[in-house]
Amino acid sequence: MTALRLGIGLAIIFAASYALAQGAADKRRSGTQDMSDALQKMQEDDAANPGMLFVQLGGQLWGKATGAAGKSCADCHGDGTSMKGVAVRYPAIPKDADAPVDLEGRINLCRTANQQADSFPPESRELLALAAYVAHQSRGLPIAPPDDPRLVAFRARGQDLWKARQGQLNLSCAICHDDNAGRKLAGVAIPEAHPTGYPIYRLEWQTLGSLKRRLRNCLAGIRAETYADGAPEYVMLDLFLMDRARGMMLESPGVRP
């Protein structure tokens, strides 16, 4: 009896200290935590989150046959629940390829290779809607980049880009989002820039947008040349950022100011 009680007591202490250790060790903050209550509520309520309009649209596209092959996503993948856990491990290297693609790139590969349809243009409503639909299936799961050794070099290159000063203002991503996160830029706290909610409904855009679009905003902000549509730099930065956010919870579709 006493031993049992002791055992339970120890178990509780262990669980509590484990939780404490986790909490204390992980000081990373998703952008959600820095938003006003009103915006947090907007993200959390599916009936209010405008990103859910796109998830719904994505679900409709999922079942629609298209392309010369006349196949829908559902014809191969079944219903959307088969996509659970996919968004948290992208970017990844597709079978028979040697370079990583992001989630939108993967969707377009399916379009061209399997459906024999045209790629969706970058930032098109259809592409974002399908990406949101797929990402939404992983909402609540921890970000879990694959341990593919081929990704290491791409990820390292992403980290280099993150740290490289560029633009007329001669700033890097890291200067703001690592060194000065939480401090105020023009009165507004700088977020840590974890890709926890993509595609996001950004109020400034008044629509859904990709991580690429967000990265372009930052580059324009420091007066740097943006990378071309489809440039590998976006995927490498995505790889680095997803690794940096490893273990954080996916919130897609996120709402951000």
């Binding site: 009103a38 400034e204 905003n217």
Partner: protein, 151 residues
């Protein structure tokens, strides 16, 4: 709002290429007062019974959540028949008007609005008995440092 003021207002509209949702187009506190007068006529507007829930500080004026709730039994004899929301600085002073009836049960409406700049928002509720009640809120709009389009 008289015609001269309206014309002066439109002439003053300058559209900037980028930035807040309306550029710098703006109504004025006087235009808002005139728009309110048009709704309430000569009836006095009393403060109270209305609660206007808006975040006091918003990072982006493009989508600002707003809820108006009015205390009312919402019975056939005593209900809120309309809620009007006005602003000072958007291009037009009227934001929205909703018409209600006892069939709503509760005089509560939520939506999202655009605010081109920091300003005062006023909500006015009209009772079935012809009274007007109001609440106002000041919202400060900050602008992100790094907007999508380069300066």
């Amino acid at each position: 709002m008289d015609r001269r003021r309206f014309l002066a207002g439109t002439a003053a509209i300058v559209v900037l290429p980028f930035g807040p949702p309306f550029g710098t187009a703006s109504a004025t506190p006087e235009a808002m007062a005139a728009a309110i007068r048009k709704v309430v006529g000569d009836t006095a507007v009393r403060e109270g019974r209305v609660s206007l829930d808006l975040p006091p500080l918003v990072e982006n004026g493009s989508t600002v959540p707003l809820v108006v709730s009015v205390e009312s039994p919402m019975t056939v004899d005593d209900y809120i028949k309309a809620i009007h929301v006005f602003n000072e600085k958007n291009p037009q002073p009227g934001v929205f008007t909703v018409r209600l009836s006892p069939r709503n049960g509760r005089a509560v409406v939520g939506t999202r609005i655009k605010l081109g700049d920091s300003q005062k928002i006023v909500a006015i509720a009209e009772t079935s008995g012809g009274q007007f009640w109001s609440a106002s809120a000041d919202v400060i709009v900050t602008l992100a440092a790094c907007l999508e389009e380069a300066t």
